[in-house]
Homo-oligomer: 303 residues x 2
């Protein structure tokens, strides 16, 4: 099977939600924009909807016949691209179950375990190698360097350098830069979540990602912006499987974010630097503390 039709299935599912009985779907190019796919895919979706009796399709008219029911949707797991599946499986293996630093990674074995071809696994590993968690030995295996304390420290050191630089650049943004509007929107979102922190503390991850990305953008430096991908993926998976103290940790972090945002709004470089440093060292502490004892022990042994 050459290509998974996950793009089609995912777009189909999203298109189902656009159906309103009695009305007609918009034009093909407009659907392309709404769904973010090409016209070919849109037309496949329309054909499929005709077969499912959801719409009547004749040239420009795409009259909705009935509302979609649950059975019309493709199961969610079929809508994930291969790369996503591989990434999740792999991260699970190296961040959770006993993946010792120094371990060898076998393309073939991984491919069989996940049930995909070797090429896909191989390409994933190449892409993933820029995160510094694995290393290639040409003509031989990959070596797992592991999510160790050492790794976390190196990551955070660079993060601090970059974030301080970006925050300093943010302050110099012209007053009419859209980033200021987004910053205010983010501030409100923080306040909202904080008001109902006990039930919404899990939304912090998303806020965190948005705030830091917004700040890195200000650096106007692709290497700084790209580096944030590493931080994001590590934090994302790590905290996804490591929810101890999440309630307190996130509550505290939201307060820090609010300080940080206020500081940015003053545009005073020293205030920004102080708030930034304070938040980052707190984040560093959280991450270090949440590293499991197993990971810690492994770190000391590695190399």
């Amino acid at each position: 099977m050459p290509k998974q039709n996950t793009v089609f299935k995912d777009a189909y599912n999203r298109c189902l939600q656009l159906l309103v009985v009695g009305e007609s779907l918009p034009s093909e190019p407009e659907l392309c924009n709404l769904l973010g796919v090409s016209r070919t895919t849109v037309r496949s979706i329309l054909s499929q909807m005709v077969e499912a009796g959801l719409i009547e399709w004749n040239k420009r008219s795409k009259a909705v016949q009935r509302p979609p029911v649950k059975a019309d949707f493709f199961p969610e797991h079929e809508t994930n691209s291969l790369a996503e599946v591989i990434e999740r499986t792999f991260m699970k293996r190296i961040l959770m179950g006993g993946a010792e630093p120094g371990m060898q990674i076998n393309e073939l074995e991984l491919a069989r375990e996940i049930g995909v071809g070797t090429t896909s696994v191989r390409e994933f590993l190449i892409r993933f190698s820029r995160f510094g968690l694995i290393e290639k030995r040409p003509n031989s295996h990959w070596v797992l360097k592991g999510f160790t304390r050492q790794f976390a420290e190196e990551l955070i050191d660079v993060r601090e350098m970059f974030e301080l630089k970006s925050a300093a650049a943010f302050v110099k943004l012209p007053a009419d830069d859209p980033a200021w509007i987004e910053l205010e929107a983010l501030r409100r979102a923080h306040v909202d979540v904080l008001a109902d922190i006990d039930s919404r503390y899990l939304e912090f991850s998303e806020l965190d990602d948005r705030l830091h990305r917004l700040i890195q953008q200000a650096s106007n430096n692709r290497f700084i912006v790209d580096f944030y991908d590493i931080i994001a993926i590590v934090f994302h998976y790590h905290y996804q499987w490591n929810k101890s103290n999440a309630r307190e940790r996130n509550g505290k972090a939201i307060l820090e974010h609010l300080d940080y945002i206020e500081a940015l709004k003053t545009r005073r470089p020293d205030a920004v630097e102080a708030a930034c440093r304070s938040h980052l060292s707190s984040a560093r502490l959280s991450l270090m503390q949440s590293l499991s004892p197993a990971a810690l022990a492994a770190t000391d042994e590695a190399q």
Copy 2:
């Protein structure tokens, strides 16, 4: 053809130079170490040498029969791995001949042009994408972002951050760290080249690479060390095809390096920082000036 046997050919060529008539080659495992390949490959080499009448091989004895002649060597171009070939061709295209920023990159076309399969090109592009010169549009083409003035500035900004950090760490290295010995060796190498600068100025590139890598190592941070790969590849190819003023440029840089090395040896942080900044801003200037007018014009238009 599944795999190029470039490993074999390259090792074979290197093994030819070990032949001394009348003597016997060392044991298989020892040859593995000398050539940096596996025993399987060593045995292939030995077999081939028997066929070529170069040696008699019987168990442990591998008696050399005749000295190798020129025709025994594989042509050099057959010893380059595919990845190297692709990299060179690609860099040539984007750093030299009219590759406008924003241009689309086509895997199939590139593969045909170079005469390799699409998989190899694809994997190269994925690996290469971390250098920030190209960007992937999933399910669609790659976009060339181009070696523009903007790119150079972003690259050098990060370089300065990292180098300052590394240099500061270098100063704190214990007195018995091997880096100090290597530093002294490098200093002498600089002096040697400088003494005969008019005929040896092209050797500067190698010295530059060695010195900066040595310093980055001191950071003990994989992200900083890995980032130097980007700088190295860009400088390598750029100056390889851009030798205007190389004589003056390199002569001046060697003097700066010597200052820098002296500063490191004093272990005084402020002296190191000054020398580091001075050298880096000079390197920045050189790079900027050597960017062709075409690249400059393109920069302004892009986005």
